[in-house]
């Protein structure tokens, strides 16, 4: 029975389920039903991805295919799972408000697009999916009646550069790959092309902004489109820019007065660290980046979930004053603390080992670059505790709404704790699998540079 079950086309089912879900949810009239169905489809998608993961053999690294276009390899297997979990967390944290109706459909659409992006093997389809994912929030901003032009301009530039560069790939010349890299740096929110990220979090609902920020489309695109073809000098320059971004994002996160903007800069800094590891294109750096990708996505999704739940109960909070929410929701405070510390790779959490590896790999190139990473990590860490103190300490407020965490939220918090600390205490399986994926990617790069 087990063999028969594993032989079912789980990958195809996992790819189709969110699309089907989006269609059904968009036609559902009741808001409560939309939310329930969205979560149901995301949970089913998670189950399918778990089966795909169980069926993948890391030893032989034999790919699981769905047609000729979609394929799961050592890189993409855990990413499917991670993305489903991040979408599920966003779904659980999304409140049932009238303006959020579109969020449930968009969430399932985003899940479908990201899964297709991760598994897609066709260059043009990947470019199309990256573009589609980037444009999805524009519709949401329009529906909310918010300003969307600046965001649209940035994304138009992203798509333009990507299409222009992609049209000439693969190429012995440097400029097509440089164009693609510029586009993907923009998509990753690299300084000075990052302002769209804060705008996105301000103008779209977190239910729309979070999946886009946490899908790490820029990192994925860099691995698929740039890493195999880019020369050393291009990668070196880009790595310097990502380091600057990591520090800049950390410093900005430290001074923000709104939780959404704080979160956007934290995302910017952390994703720049991931990209920095990819651009290092060494075995240790790439292994670290692939591990960090997973840990950062999960931790930031958890942190975003807490901020979302807090916002749902108390509205937009200013980080200029203390709100004293610990007494009302200690579980949320605890969750904020461990997901926040995990997102900045605190010891004992899932991100600690990857950061050590990343700094080690970077320091092999230059001590100063390693120090810049440590500085960025330090700034992010200070920023996290600052926000914790602002939100959860201070004079207790008189509640107007039900404050304790719901049953679903409690389950999400416990699962997050298990992932964050489980991955921190037993990092070896994860690091080993990412090491294999990194070696495979580096072999591809070496092969593409052969005469």
């Amino acid at each position: 029975v087990r063999v028969a079950l594993l032989q079912l086309p789980w990958l195809s089912i996992a790819l189709i389920l969110p699309l089907l879900g989006a269609l059904i949810v968009s036609r559902t009239k009741e808001l409560r039903d939309s939310a329930e169905r969205c979560l149901l489809f995301l949970a089913a998608s998670l189950l399918c991805n778990l089966i795909v993961l169980a069926g993948y053999d890391y030893g032989s690294q034999e790919a699981i295919s769905a047609g000729k276009t979609f394929r799961v390899d050592s890189l993409s297997v855990p990413l499917l799972l991670v993305n489903t979990i991040t979408h599920l967390l966003v779904g659980v944290g999304t409140v049932r408000k009238a303006e959020e109706r579109f969020t449930f459909t968009a969430l399932l659409l985003s899940q479908a697009i990201v899964m297709a992006m991760i598994t897609c093997q066709n260059l043009w389809l990947l470019i199309a999916l990256l573009s589609l994912e980037a444009l999805l929030p524009v519709f949401a901003m329009r529906r909310l009646g918010n300003r969307h032009r600046p965001y649209f301009l940035y994304m138009a530039l992203f798509i333009g550069l990507l299409v222009l560069g992609g049209a000439f790939l693969p190429n012995k010349e440097t400029w097509p790959v440089a164009l693609c890299l510029a586009a993907l740096l923009l998509r990753n929110g690299v300084f000075p092309l990052h302002s769209w990220l804060a705008e996105l979090f301000e103008k779209a609902t977190p239910g729309i902004a979070l999946p886009l920020a946490l899908s790490f489309g820029g990192v994925l695109g860099t691995i698929r489109l740039v890493l195999p073809y880019a020369p050393e000098t291009v990668l070196g320059i880009a790595q310097g820019v990502t380091l600057l971004t990591a520090v800049y994002g950390g410093a900005m996160a430290l001074t923000m007065r709104e939780p959404r903007r704080f979160f956007s800069y934290l995302c910017m800094s952390q994703s720049a660290m991931v990209l920095c590891g990819v651009l290092q294109h060494s075995s240790i750096g790439l292994t670290a980046a692939l591990c960090l990708w997973i840990s950062t996505a999960l931790s930031l999704a958890g942190l975003g979930f807490v901020l979302r739940v807090v916002e749902a109960r108390f509205g937009n909070l200013s980080l200029g004053v203390h709100h004293g929410l610990y007494g009302h929701a200690p579980a949320l405070a605890l969750c904020f603390l461990f997901t926040g510390l995990s997102s900045i790779n605190f010891p004992g959490t899932i991100g600690f080992m990857p950061l050590e590896l990343l700094i080690s790999g970077t320091m092999q190139k230059s001590f100063g670059m390693g120090a810049a990473l440590a500085l960025a990590s330090m700034l992010n860490c200070i920023a996290i505790l600052r926000v914790y103190f602002q939100i959860f300490t201070g004079r207790r407020r008189i509640p107007f709404v039900t404050l304790p965490v719901t049953q679903k939220e409690r389950v999400a918090i416990v699962l997050l704790a298990l992932i964050v600390f489980g991955g921190g205490v037993f990092p070896q399986p994860g690091i080993h699998s990412r090491h294999l994926a990194a070696e495979a990617l580096l072999s591809q790069r070496d092969a593409s540079f052969l005469p």
Binding site: R147, R149, P150, L153, S195, A198, E199, E202, K203, A251, M252, L254, T255, M256, R261, S283, I284, T287, H322, G324, G327, P330, L334, F346, P347, G348, F352, M353, E356, L357, I359, S360, G361, M363, Q364, F367, G370, A371, A374, L375, M378, C381, I382, L385, R386, F389, F392, T393, G394, R395, R396, R410, I413, V414, A417, P427, Q428, I431, H432, H435
Partner: protein, 446 residues
């Protein structure tokens, strides 16, 4: 029947595992929203501390009986790839056993004190979760035989300390002070992290014996020397300076007194404040590998002692006075380390930690006794001018008094010269970003 070395290892694991078990017990209860009763917390604490203390005494006795000088406990590999090897390894030697015994004895004393002192206090459970976190961090740091393991424990101690400073969280000032301390801790932790990675690169692993040789403490001598150890030494000194509140990071120590008295006693009077000295003792051969590093250590220690003496003489509350008195002794211990007196520094550290803990715990009742005495005699207790006041001319004394009262304006100096300019710069940059987006939005403000 387990043999001698297996019993030794089991006791070693018990020393290490006891606080981890306590942390898991308290942590899971907090995660599932279960409030443990005061009796259950007290019992769990007692069992853990007695187990850990007896196990560590057992390890010490067995090491001495076997005429060995250290026991290395290899727990396993945390991460192993073709480029990176991260071992979980602990060492029981004179230094680590002394510190771990001190930890268990003082945590036992303060644990017993706290269960009564914090009776019916809101946040009783939270205090003991953080207490367990601190205990775990201290034991891991003390026993660590790899720099990465030490870093893990070091960070846990820092986090627990900061959250305990902000324990009375319905007031904003404990949170603000906790945040200030966190900033200093993060600076020194970043230096320690860099030191850990750099040491890994330098000696091919994070094990102390790869850097210091496979000889028990205190007879280590560095295997790697030259300009590399100079940089490594400086990074370790920055880390130690932050944790032990040496100049110019001394401003955080009186701020840390916002926490409950038991945590002030154990963290800032006894264990946490000495961690910097402990780190310098652990890597003392690296410090002594060049002429410059010991000089820096001695100067830092002496400056700290001088600063603490002047500032401590002008304080008007008992906890601040005690914190500066502790800092004065820490400064002297650091000088001793810089001069190469490793055993003397260790003995000084152990004695001072015990004395200061008892002083901190006695402080609230001492004030009560003073009040009783003053009520009985119907006037304030007579105050005599101190030695400093008698020997210095009034203008010089006034300058020093102002310096001491303002704690040397160290915090203000760091804040005005480093923090505020950067904060203003990034706030302006945010404004520029907002204007740029408004411009792209066709002048429609956000």
């Amino acid at each position: 029947m387990p043999d001698y070395s297996q019993i030794q290892e089991m006791l070693g694991l018990l020393t290490l595992g006891a606080p981890i078990g306590l942390l898991l017990f308290f942590g899971f209860a907090a995660l599932f929203g279960k409030t443990l009763s005061e009796a259950a917390i007290s019992k769990a604490l007692r069992v853990t501390l007695v187990t850990g203390l007896l196990a560590s005494i057992g390890v010490g006795v067995m090491i001495l009986a076997a005429r060995e000088l250290q026991l290395v406990l290899e727990v396993g590999d945390w991460v192993i790839t073709s480029h990176y090897h991260f071992k979980i390894e602990f060492v029981f030697d004179v230094l680590s056993l002394s510190y771990v015994l001190l930890t268990y004895i003082l945590c036992g004393t303060i644990g017993a004190f706290s269960t009564r002192y914090l009776h019916r206090e809101p946040g009783y459970n939270r205090f003991f979760v953080l207490f367990a976190l601190f205990l775990t961090g201290m034991v891991v740091t003390a026993l660590a035989d790899t720099v990465e393991t030490l870093f893990v424990g070091w960070e846990l101690v820092g986090l627990a300390s900061v959250l305990l400073i902000a324990f009375f969280q319905e007031r904003t000032s404990p949170a603000q002070n906790g945040y200030r301390v966190w900033i200093v801790y993060r600076i020194c932790d970043a230096a320690l992290m860099l030191a850990a990675v750099y040491m890994h690169e330098l000696s091919g692993g994070g094990d102390f014996d790869k850097l210091l040789g496979d000889v028990p403490w205190p007879w280590h001598a560095p295997l790697v020397a030259g300009e590399h150890t100079l940089l490594l030494g400086f990074l370790f000194i920055i880390a130690a300076a932050g944790k032990s509140a040496l100049v110019p990071f001394s401003g955080w120590l009186p701020r840390a007194m916002e926490g409950p008295t038991p945590s002030s006693a154990i963290f800032y009077g006894a264990l946490s404040v000495h961690l910097g000295a402990f780190l310098l003792l652990r890597i003392s051969p690296v410090i002594e590998s060049s002429a410059l590093l010991p000089t820096v250590v001695v100067v830092l220690g002496a400056l700290t002692a001088l600063y603490a003496y002047i500032a401590g003489s002008a304080q008007t509350d008992i906890k601040s006075s005690l914190s500066f008195a502790a800092l004065l002794q820490v400064g002297i211990i650091i000088v001793e380390i810089g001069l190469g007196f490793r055993y003397l520094a260790l003995l000084h550290l152990l004695g001072h930690a015990c004395l200061r803990t008892l002083q901190f715990v006695r402080a609230p009742t001492l004030l009560h006794d003073y009040h009783t005495l003053e009520n009985a005699i119907g006037m304030h207790l007579p105050q005599h001018p101190g030695r400093l006041q008698r020997r210095l001319s009034p203008p010089v004394f006034a300058v020093l008094y102002r310096f001491g009262l303002e704690r040397g304006n160290l915090d203000t100096f760091l804040s005005d010269t480093i923090v505020l300019p950067w904060k203003r710069l990034f706030q302006r940059l945010e404004l520029v970003e907002r204007r740029w987006m408004d411009f792209l939005g066709g002048g429609r403000p956000s």
